[in-house]
Amino acid sequence: MNYFNSLTFGILLSCSVSGFVVNALPSEAVEQITPLNKQQKAKLIHLVKQDCGSCHGLTLKGGLGPSLLPADLINKPEYFLTLTILNGRPGTAMPPWKDILSEQEAQWIAQQLIKGIEDAQQ
């Protein structure tokens, strides 16, 4: 349940960035956050595989939602992925995850997706 603990913080952050859609991640704010610990990361990987996996597939090769494998994310910058996770994509089945995930967590997930999630487990 760790990812719920950072909920409040995530909402605060989301408010602070809402005016700056392009420069979405104010670096000074991110630096103040305690880095995610191993357990938190494991929970996020579980969430990505199981719950993102409901639509994108357990192996993230796509389903109702598109593939999230590194090769298919080549032209998608990290901030774009982070914002997509937090805000969803209106008009599609992609929901906003900002009530569930903090900005730090969403950003970390975006980084792992770009790297490839299998690597992230190790």
Binding site: D51, G53, G57, L58, T59, K61, G63, L64, P96, W97
Partner: protein
């Protein structure tokens, strides 16, 4: 022909041999079913089932009379979203995997009888009225493929509607609509919905030439569908708008009607972290019970008028809303992050009567054929929980790795399952 016969005989020998081996290893409790021949132990399949072990690409063969696991079979590919239909002799299960794999599993020999990779990405399937054809609905490339149940040879390919305005596939081809909600219907028909092109198609395979009736503009983004147990009504749930699309197969010329388009009006739809599933038919008396997309509600429909006549506030966004076989109770599970709970509705009073907390990731439920037990897959605690449907007592837990779908063989004889 002669060769086939030989092949069959050698297969049979292998099968007997397998039985011999498994007699002691896998099923010590078989006494009541055993015909005591010296060399073999006969096994019937009418009280068996298959459980998907999602993460490891394996399935378990289970026995719901003994509440036991009989065997585990691996090598079925990506089962992150998988479903199963059964041959009418209840010997074979056809497993539809996420990676486009179609696997025919033999419940008698505990082996994969045949496996084909038939697409890049599939979602589900159905078996024909005569049991001779198995159809698979695919996301990539979007469409339906139909196979011979005996050989898994391709019999027909029905590509879905092209989507010229969508980004192209990696190989440069034009994308086609994803296909969902594929069911069988009487008259050797398959009915399915097209998620991206907002259609319902009825494919008639009763003659050599396949006839397809296409209904367009049925409502935005059908996400799944069900058919009534008599095979008359096909109902697709809509994701892109509030409502459902209804096709009366006894009056196909009347076309598709929009129903329940009023639900949720004036209330903000919540983010949907998991699409509901429409499976089976939660129906009691003249009422059908369906999940409301984006709301913590189960909707009640009067099946005489197809109007919404009520709604029941529940714990979360429903995923499965399933009536037990006698329709006396309706069982509901929920989407992430509230997926640790099951709620039960009394169909007589239309009130919630019970809340159970099996644990995080209750993904699916399956009832024994006459409904005395319900099996639930609890993903995160890696177990199947078996409950008494009468008094809600937890009867047994069976270990299973990240279990999702549970499918008992009595589905073989039910329209739409």
């Amino acid at each position: 022909m002669h060769n086939n016969k030989l092949y069959f005989l050698s297969g049979l020998t292998a099968l007997l041999f397998t039985f011999g081996c498994q007699q002691t290893v896998n099923k010590p409790m078989l006494a009541k079913k055993v015909a005591n021949t010296a060399t073999t132990e006969l096994r019937a399949t009418g009280d068996l089932g298959l459980v998907i072990e999602r993460a490891s690409g394996q399935i378990q063969i289970v026995d719901h009379s003994d509440k036991a696991s009989l065997a585990q079979i691996s090598g079925l590919g990506d089962l992150s979203h998988a479903s199963i239909v059964y041959s009418r002799d209840q010997r074979f299960g056809y497993v539809f995997g996420r990676d486009g794999g179609l696997t025919k599993v033999d419940l008698l020999t505990n082996k994969i009888a045949k496996r084909v990779m038939q697409s890049g990405n599939s979602i589900g399937g159905a078996i024909s009225q005569d049991g001779k054809l198995v159809a698979v609905s695919n996301y990539t490339p979007g469409g339906v493929k139909i196979f011979d149940t005996e050989t898994l040879a391709l019999v027909a390919d029905i590509p879905a509607t092209e989507l010229p305005n969508h980004p192209r596939n990696k190989d440069g081809s034009i994308k086609r609509s994803k296909v969902v909600g594929l069911v069988d219907a009487p008259g050797q028909k398959f009915v399915f919905s097209l998620f991206d092109s907002h259609e319902i198609w009825v494919a008639d395979l009763s003659e050599d030439e396949i006839k397809i009736n296409k209904y367009t503009d049925i409502g935005l983004n059908p996400y799944d569908a069900l058919i009534s147990p008599d095979g008359r009504y096909y109902i697709a749930g809509l994701f892109g708008e509030n409502g459902m699309a209804l096709l009366d197969l006894w009056a196909q010329e009347d076309g598709v009607k929009r129903i329940l388009d009023g639900y949720g009006k004036g209330n903000k739809k919540l983010p949907v972290y998991k699409m509901p599933h429409l499976e089976g038919w939660a129906m009691a008396g003249n009422f059908a019970y369906v999940p409301a997309v984006g709301f913590h509600k189960v909707l009640i429909i009067d099946t005489q008028t197809w109007q919404q006549v009520g709604e029941i506030d529940v714990h979360g966004q429903p995923v499965f809303v399933m009536a037990q076989p006698d329709n006396r109770k309706i069982w509901v599970n929920f989407a992430f992050p509230l997926n640790d709970t099951i709620q039960v509705i009394d169909s007589k009073t239309q009130q919630l009567i019970k809340t159970l907390t099996p644990g995080p990731g209750v993904l699916h439920m399956e009832f024994t054929p006459r409904g005395e037990n319900v099996w639930m897959s609890v993903r995160d605690s890696n177990e199947i929980q078996i409950y008494n449907t009468e008094n809600f007592e937890l009867l047994k837990k069976l270990p299973a790795a990240s279990p999702s779908g549970i499918f008992f063989t009595n589905r073989a004889h039910q329209i739409g399952l």
